[in-house]
């Protein structure tokens, strides 16, 4: 319970770790959008290369990236197989009963799989190198223009940071309640699924009740410390935009322009 990592943040001091969350968020957003423009070996190659360079710049052990990909491994495989079997084009490679595999279909499937892999890799990289709290800060600042049209951006970011702060507390509490229920003979770990689901109810109810009590207390404590929404508030946590942030953005824009041009030229 003590070495619990919220989200997946892995502390470090690499180029990527030092970047401002805003530049990272913008870059990832642009990259995830732009990936749909890629449609050739060159363009996918470029994107993949960019991703690999980013991974290198994060100085993270590769197994962390692998760990991020593992949950989607099945989806990747599934997409690949479905696409290989259903897409047509180019020369037929295998024609065996119901299985038709064509060269065009194969290439297309590889692209799709690569696309998902790259998306997962860069988002994993984002969460691995950004502390959740900076993440919330970055989102608050990036979306702050929306405050003008009364979108509760500040409240949303505060909600995010408070939920993050309470995750370990609630985990501890769940653990405690689980032990308390186990002491009363409830069994969560064995038996048929239906029975186990049923055993979860007496776990959730006290958890909910205590969460509401907590929320109530917390609201009182916040108000008593002078919290009154986004009025006349200063910020303690600072976001610092440095030259490396600008460089990264320029690089991303450069990549995007190159991709668009290549798509138009059909490279």
């Amino acid at each position: 319970m003590n070495n619990l990592i919220i989200g997946q943040y892995f502390p470090g001091d690499s180029y990527l770790h030092r970047l401002d969350p805003r530049s990272k968020l913008i870059s990832v957003f642009i990259l995830v959008c732009i990936i749909f423009i890629a449609n050739s070996w060159t363009t996918y190659g470029m994107l993949f290369l960019f991703t690999c360079i980013s991974v290198a710049a994060s100085k993270l052990p590769l197994r962390f990236i692998y760990r991020g990909l593992k949950p989607v491994f099945f989806i990747l495989l599934f997409t690949f197989i479905v696409n290989v079997l259903s897409m047509d084009g180019g020369k037929p490679l295998i024609d065996y009963g119901v299985i038709h595999i064509t060269s065009g279909g194969l290439v297309f499937s590889i692209f799709i799989t690569l696309r998902i892999t790259i998306i997962v890799m860069i988002t994993t990289l984002l969460t691995l190198t950004t502390p959740p709290i900076s993440f919330a800060d970055g989102i608050e600042v990036l979306f702050s223009p929306l405050k003008k049209i009364k979108v509760p951006v500040h409240e949303f970011a505060l909600m995010m940071s408070i939920s993050l702060r309470f995750i370990p507390t609630l985990m501890e509490e769940t653990d405690k309640i689980m032990k308390a229920q186990a002491a009363r003979g409830s069994d969560l770990s064995t038996g048929p699924l239906r029975q186990r689901m049923k055993a979860i109810v007496p776990l959730l109810v006290p958890l909910f009740v205590s969460s509401f009590k907590r929320a109530d207390d917390l609201a009182m404590a916040m108000e008593s410390r002078g919290y009154r929404g986004d009025v006349g508030r200063t910020r303690f946590r600072e976001l610092k935009w440095s030259s490396s942030d600008s460089i990264v953005l320029v690089l991303v824009i450069f990549l995007v322009t190159a991709l668009i041009l290549m798509r138009i030229r059909g490279i």
Partner: protein, 283 residues
Amino acid sequence: MKQKENPIIDVSNVYYRYEKETNWILEDINLTVYQGEWLAITGHNGSGKSTLAKCLKGLIMPEKGTISVLHWDTTDKEKLWDIRRTVGMVFQNPDNQFVGATVKDDVAFGMENSGIERQEMLKRLETSLKQVRMFDYVDREPHQLSGGQKQRVAIAGIIALEPSIIILDEATSMLDPEGRKSVMKLMRHLNKENNITVISITHDLEEVIHADRMIVMNDGKVIKEGKPRDLFQSTNDFEKVGLDLPFTIKLRRCLKEKGLEISDNALFEEELVNELWTLYSTN
């Protein structure tokens, strides 16, 4: 001696209830708190102590009567935030008042709300955390802290706001004796050195004997008020309202019942010891 004649909070004829047409939770409360004093409020569960504290801080408004803090009426909307800044409050549950993701974020939270400049925040962050001896933990997350440590962080968050009054609402009841002792020591230091007025709400009469003045509440009323030494002269009333007497007082009473001639004055263990060993030498 520091001056304890300047009233800082004035409560007169206050009535409060959470819902209309029910019994009063606070009934005709009259109370003056003086600048720089240590006031203890005690009473059984549900006697209205926390409710009174919330009134003093302007978190709830009395239905009848007035409360003024530094001559500001708590019903004055324009002064409400000044009042909340003047009165700091530490709550019972250390977990449910920890807002920030880390110790420093939590201490900064109140300062952010008051719109304090970042440079000033950093300065106060350091001094307040050093005062509660938690500066080494500045980057820790709440789940890596013990209850007592969280409570100290909460206190640091309050002193960073430089309030004139700190209300401790059973702030030490979830701590072990060691944690309790160190928090009380810290508060006493703040009370003496920084001249912060302390209102300490507690069931623990052991803690109360150190106060300058105390009030006892019962069913929403103040039934006793005065110096602990005076109030503990007669012990029956405390037991009548369901409070457990401090060890010294109990011992004092037992010894008297055994026929020893002991005065009703001894409050601290040391005083009782002194009385005991001089008992026969004076006779």
